[in-house]
């Protein structure tokens, strides 16, 4: 499903964020990408969704070479991902329903389909009763669950999360962990960049550990 082969990324200015990284992730796997700040976790996720392009090697997702996509093809490739951000990246001028409906509207779902799926996703993360609330009125944990609802509403094959529990209390973090586990159990491939040890022991995933831009084989589980 995802394969990195000899991927390097050097930013303009000379910073080598990733150096000769190779791994594959099969469909349905639950994988954590761990490492210290600056180890290259964020770069790895950015390469997956074509925010950045590799300077060496190839990133293959669903058989597509992500680094070689034309700008026109990028949006359609991104729709196979569900993205969860540490800072949620919600749209604060729209209500909960509209935030979750956005990926469906982007993909051109019919209005009736959209309503059904949005409610299902909100129900799944326990926010159905907040349908018409504005995101700013929700707690941090609720906002993160809203972000997850938006990420999974279009039933993506891959869930990508960048520090999903980074700003949350332990209780909230557990809820998020459970949500991730439940999606993984129904076949969604999940790639989580985190250094949250609690989440790690909660989900006992496969771990890809990065150290200074390279695979840290010594620490791999």
């Amino acid at each position: 499903m995802i394969s990195f082969s000899r991927v390097s990324k050097r930013y303009p200015g000379g910073h080598q964020a990733l150096n000769d990284v190779s791994f594959t992730i099969d469909s349905g796997e639950l994988v954590f990408v761990t490492g210290h700040s600056g180890a290259g976790k964020s770069t790895l996720l950015k390469l997956l969704v074509a925010i950045e392009r590799p300077t060496g090697g190839s990133v293959i997702v669903n058989g597509q070479n992500v680094g070689a996509l034309t700008p026109r093809a990028v949006p359609f490739m991104r729709r196979s991902f569900g993205l969860v951000f540490q800072d949620h990246k919600l749209l604060y001028d729209r209500n909960v329903y509209e935030n979750v409906a956005l990926p469906l509207q982007i993909s051109g779902f019919a209005p009736r389909d959209t309503a059904r799926r949005v409610r299902a996703a909100l129900d799944k993360v326990g926010l159905l009763k907040f349908e018409t609330a504005m995101p700013i009125t929700l707690s941090g944990g609720e906002q993160q669950r809203l972000c997850i609802a938006r990420a999974i509403v279009h039933r993506p094959a891959i869930l990508l999360a960048d520090e999903p529990t980074g700003n949350l209390d332990a209780d909230y973090a557990l809820e998020i962990g459970e949500l991730i586990r439940s999606f993984n159990q129904v076949g969604v491939t999940a790639v989580i960049a985190t250094h949250d040890q609690t989440l790690l022991s909660q989900l006992s995933p496969r771990v890809i550990s990065l150290k200074q831009g390279a695979l840290d084989t010594g620490a791999a589980a």
Binding site: V49, I51, R72, P75, F76, M77, R78, R79, F81, L83, K89, L91, D93, L102, P103, Q105, I106, S107, G108, F109, A110, P111, R150
Partner: protein, 301 residues
């Protein structure tokens, strides 16, 4: 199809919300566009009206030859023969003084005054079409006929109509020129408005891009916004012109009542009105398109 309609509906809705969300700014923009547009289109309206009014005045120049008031029938017949023998006179028409008086009575609304005259003040006249319509040839012919006996006055008609026509053509050209300049200004105004919007919505655009929106999807609400702003400006312009024509016609009504003739300004035809509304809408759309395209590429992700 339903999803497509829904997507456009949402974009229009978003654009209307943004317009209504900043009522002062939107109103000012619409006023700026509307007032600016009303200048060239108002000029066009005036020119069109004058042109329509001057059209029934003959625009082929003619020469009017007035006999002396006391010229008798045989003297008039002599002139008629001379005109027939002059090759530069293509054809001519004799207007007897009695007929001229009757015409004046019918057309001017001064019947009472004319009836009160002790005698007919009008002379016999010939109206001549020259075979060469150039001003120099006409003036030469006028001077020649002026030398003939018993001719009181020779006048070049319709030269003023020609001059008016040339003036109107200049006016029309000016209207087109101003319209083109203001079209550019409209595009620029929209460009700037949309630029500010894109910059303030940068975060939102980045998020939408990340979750798989195409550029077309991101562009759409901005395009509708630009088009709506142009349309609002066009409506303002239309209202300004309608009010101006209404007020002008009211005072023209009083004026022409006094002169017993009815001259009224015509308003824009339905087709012109449609163009007035459609063109600024399209220009607003264009300005928005240029702006969003340019600024989207700056938000590269």
């Amino acid at each position: 199809m339903k999803a497509w309609l829904a997507a456009h509906g949402r974009s229009i809705n978003a654009a209307v919300t943004r317009l209504a969300g900043a009522p002062l700014g939107s109103t000012l923009n619409a006023l700026v566009i509307g007032i600016a547009l009303s200048l060239p289109i108002g000029l066009h309206l005036v020119v069109s009206n004058l042109q329509a009014a001057s059209q029934h005045l003959t625009s082929a120049p003619q020469i009017s030859v007035y006999m002396a008031l006391d010229a008798n029938r045989s003297e008039v017949a002599q002139i008629e023969t001379k005109l027939k023998q002059t090759p530069r006179v293509a054809n001519f028409r004799f207007v007897p003084r009695e007929q001229a008086l009757a015409d004046l009575k019918n057309s001017s609304g001064l019947a009472d005054v004319i009836d009160g005259l002790p005698q007919n003040p009008l002379p016999d006249a010939f109206v001549i079409d020259a075979d060469d319509g150039s001003p120099a040839a006409l003036e030469a012919l006028r001077d020649e006929i002026g030398q003939w006996p018993r001719i009181a006055h020779v006048q070049l008609d319709a030269m003023w109509a020609r001059r008016l026509d040339a003036g109107l053509r200049l006016g029309r050209l000016a209207a087109v020129g101003i319209a083109l300049l203001l079209a550019v200004a409209l595009v620029a105004v929209t460009f700037n408005t949309i630029r500010l919007q894109v910059l303030t919505r940068r975060d939102e655009i980045e998020v939408i891009k990340l979750i798989g929106a195409t550029d077309a999807f991101i562009r759409r609400p901005f395009l509708y916004f630009g088009a709506l702003q142009g349309f609002a400006g066009a409506i303002v312009c239309w209202l300004i012109l309608a009010a101006a024509v209404y007020l002008a016609n009211r005072s023209l009504g009083e004026l022409s009542h006094v002169y017993a003739s009815l001259f009224q300004l015509g308003f824009l035809s339905p087709l012109d009105s449609f163009a007035l509304l459609a063109v600024p809408t399209a220009l607003g759309w264009l300005g928005a398109w240029l702006s969003v395209s340019r600024h989207l590429s700056a938000i590269a992700q």
